[in-house]
């Protein structure tokens, strides 16, 4: 019974009863519902018996970062510390909306701005401001209109537009990403169908940069590969190349005719200075290279949820930039038509007003400053408490929101299970979630985990 009903793709027994005189069931292939001029109304709730198309759909794996926050929420211990969070927290460990953002929003409310569609490329005032912030207002490439800038859905969305452009115009080209890198980079290139491979970056032995490995891997990549670089405050390690190393990176990229692709998610947030944090990008611009830069205002303006960023493509001519911009629009249109206006207006208002711009810079310095202070405090606590002579200076050398502690999985587990410190299994902690008041406690936890985890948990330490 069930299978014959399924093969008709038809209705339940109840409906058949109602339509009995109209139905002619059989194998002739004729459709009973077309025989009647108009079928009688089915007033009862019909139960569909056909199997779901979505039978085979399994649960997607849980997001590794969200899982940390969830476990933290469930923990009732009052000493607990959430160092998984990728969003800035105050000393009181509260989320922070910048004062200058509140000001801008009130201004927008008073002005009664309308809510019309933005053009596909986004808010013009925002695009101008964001390119100038990145390269410097009077940079030749901006004056000569060599940069194609379009507003994107924060860093993720901007990266995705660029990835789609790469897939379309550089079929077969590979992107090299650092090992490790932000988890979503791989998802973005996978979904955009751009092949990727990794270049060495983090050296667990030094808890620093494997510079030789990085250069060697970039050199070895096929000519014309895309090299994904973190402009500043590398996520997740916090380890950035030195100025001299950046020069050598630029050299090898030029040598191999590669295309640099910067992800700049922390401009101003890393050192506290917008200009200083853009130095790596500006070095490449100075070389006259063509390259991509994705930007985000999630952290530096605290606009996380408003999804505001940009993709910039630096081209060798204004004509190329115009063409590239038109093709970026063509990719955006079937994704979301045009970008959300709210965050773009906030940025444009803040940057466009000298007073607010200065206020922003001050708040950014404050946020970056708090993180540097916390790093120092953590370092001091570690050094004073740990008598083993281990070098903890990597804490001070690393920069930005995140720090790779060098703790392995077993040690990280000890952090959570014994000390109620929540972090990701790769040993990454978010300094943004650390207060000065908790530094001593954290130092105790790190020292204990580093030296004793094996004893407690009897798991082999990964080398």
């Amino acid at each position: 019974m069930a299978s014959s009903m399924l093969s008709l793709g038809s209705t339940s027994l109840l409906t058949r009863e109602i339509n009995k005189d109209k139905l002619k069931l059989g194998n002739s292939g004729s459709n009973p519902f077309l025989k009647a001029k108009s079928s009688s109304r089915v007033t009862m709730m019909t139960v569909a018996v056909k199997p779901s198309r979505f039978e085979g759909i399994t649960m997607a794996p849980p997001d590794p970062i969200l899982g940390v926050s969830e476990a933290f929420k469930a923990d009732t211990n009052e000493l607990k510390l959430n160092l998984g969070v990728g969003a800035y927290r105050t000393e009181e460990l509260q989320p922070y909306v910048l004062n200058v953002v509140k000001k801008a929003e009130n201004l927008m409310l008073e002005r009664g701005d309308n809510k019309e569609y933005l053009p596909i490329e986004g808010l013009a005032a925002f695009n101008k401001a964001t390119a100038e912030l990145l390269f410097g207002a009077n940079h030749p490439i901006i004056k000569e209109q060599k940069v194609a800038t379009i507003q994107g859905l924060s860093g993720t969305g901007s990266l995705r537009l660029a990835a789609a452009l790469i897939e379309r115009y550089f079929p077969g080209a590979k992107v090299l990403i650092s090992s490790p890198t932000w988890g979503n980079h791989k998802n973005i290139f996978n979904d955009a169908k751009v092949p990727w491979s990794e270049y060495r970056y983090y050296d667990p032995k030094t808890i620093g940069l494997d510079f030789e490995g990085m250069i060697a891997d970039i050199k070895e990549a096929p000519e014309g590969s895309f090299i994904l670089l973190h402009g500043c405050a590398h996520n997740p390690t916090g380890i950035d190349p030195t100025p001299e190393q950046w020069v050598k990176i630029a050299d090898v990229i030029q040598e191999k005719n590669h295309i640099p692709f910067f992800d700049v998610a922390y401009q101003g947030f890393a050192s506290g200075s917008l200009d200083e944090d853009a130095a790596s990008v500006r070095l490449f611009a100075e070389r006259g290279m063509e390259f991509f830069v994705a930007q985000s205002y999630s952290k530096n303006l605290g606009l996380y949820a408003e999804r505001i960023g940009a993709i910039n493509v630096v081209c060798s001519s204004a004509d190329a930039a115009t063409r590239v911009k038109s093709q970026l629009k063509r990719i955006a249109r079937p994704m979301y038509s045009n970008p959300p206006v709210h965050g773009a207006r906030i940025v444009a208002n803040v940057v466009g007003d000298a007073t607010m711009f200065n206020e922003w810079k001050a708040e950014m310095e404050m946020m970056a400053g708090r993180i540097k202070t916390v790093r120092q405090e953590l370092y001091d606590s570690l050094v004073s408490k740990d008598k083993s002579g281990k070098d903890w200076s990597f804490i001070l050398k690393q920069i930005g929101m995140f720090s790779f502690t060098g703790l392995n999985k077993a040690q990280s587990d000890n952090m959570t299970n014994k000390w109620h410190v929540y972090m990701t299994k790769d040993g990454r902690i978010s300094l943004a979630g650390l207060s000065l008041a908790k530094c001593e406690y954290l130092a105790d936890a790190i020292i204990d985990s580093y030296h004793n985890a094996l004893l407690y948990w009897k798991t082999p330490i990964e080398l």
């Binding site: 038809s10 077309l34 979505f54 989320p95 924060s154 993720t156 979503n184 070095l283």
Partner: protein
Amino acid sequence: MAMAMAIRNAASRRTMSPISGEFGLRSMSSWWKSVEPAPKDPILGVTEAFLADPSPEKVNVGVGAYRDDNGKPVVLECVREAERRIAGTSFMEYLPMGGSAKMVEETLKLAYGDDSEFIKDKKIAAVQALSGTGACRLFADFQKRFCPGSQIYIPVPTWSNHHNIWRDAQVPQKTYHYYHPETKGLNFSGLMDDVKNAPEGSFFLLHACAHNPTGVDPTEEQWREISQLFKAKNHFPFFDMAYQGFASGDPARDAKSIRIFLEDGHHIGISQSYAKNMGLYGQRVGCLSVLCEDEKQAVAVKSQLQQLARPMYSNPPLHGAQIVSTILGDPQLKSLWLKEVKIMADRIIGMRTTLRESLEKLGSPLSWEHVTKQIGMFCYSGLTPEQVDRLTSQYHIYMTRNGRISMAGVTTGNVGYLANAIHEVSKSS
């Protein structure tokens, strides 16, 4: 400061070396030689051209954004009030990948009914999306990933971006008959034939109400027949509902097609948008929902939709979603919204009448009955591309070349001018 200077010094040392000249040359030849300029978007390109036109008489009946009788964009009062309540109060932390749960819940009630069993039983997989475009795109990507052999049947004509969306999602497209040029109405028998002849289990894109660009909707009776045929063929109905409330002025009435399909037991998908009915165009607020067999399946499907969203934009924007949930979550604000939607819909219905009457008064030899029969923001005028071009070049009237007039752009101030121009370009046809 120090780092910037260090890099500058290091860089200038580099450019002095003899080898750098070679580097300089190589970097000047562009990677982008093969990149052609993209054609202008047929819809958004119209507005660009309109903005560039210096004529004081110009009229924009291109893009589908509502205008009041003075031709001005409108921000609804309920929206302003919601924004006042929101301003300065909330954090801007990331929404979850699936967006604002509260906003999604309210949005599902609009489509499925306040007391929907499906909502109670948690059978609907739903995520906040980037307005209607984003919802359609998520669905298209989902369809590609989980029904890789499938195609999408799209009506002729349809909103041009539908073709872009499923193409970029790499889902092959087929079309089905919809618009009947002779009657300027629905080609119902052609539609039914195409539905019948499509392979069993095909995916169909349906406009729930206020078809874009024609304004031609099936009657309730016709929807019931379509639903029955879909059942017989086991087709998947995907509804794009961009104009709920905006078509008739009554959101429940505008969702009738969807309710018929739900009654008939279909497991549907829906794209919803607040761009027009709440005037939140630039905020990009919408929702994608997929009705599943049970809660477990809904959870799985939602998790997969989130997986698709993550590498596209991570999580959706907050502001518009907050506006929606503030309005729909407050009975007074919601009531105000319903009033304001009705005002917009009524103004458009009024303009349709005026335009038709004006054309008839001018003594047009053609029938303009379709102007009042069609519904929603758009009117498929029946004008040819050449006639549209003349409207633009001679009269500075901007619309898409398929003859689609956005009635939302027609006002008591410009309807006479518009009628006259249409009459002039069409009277000899």
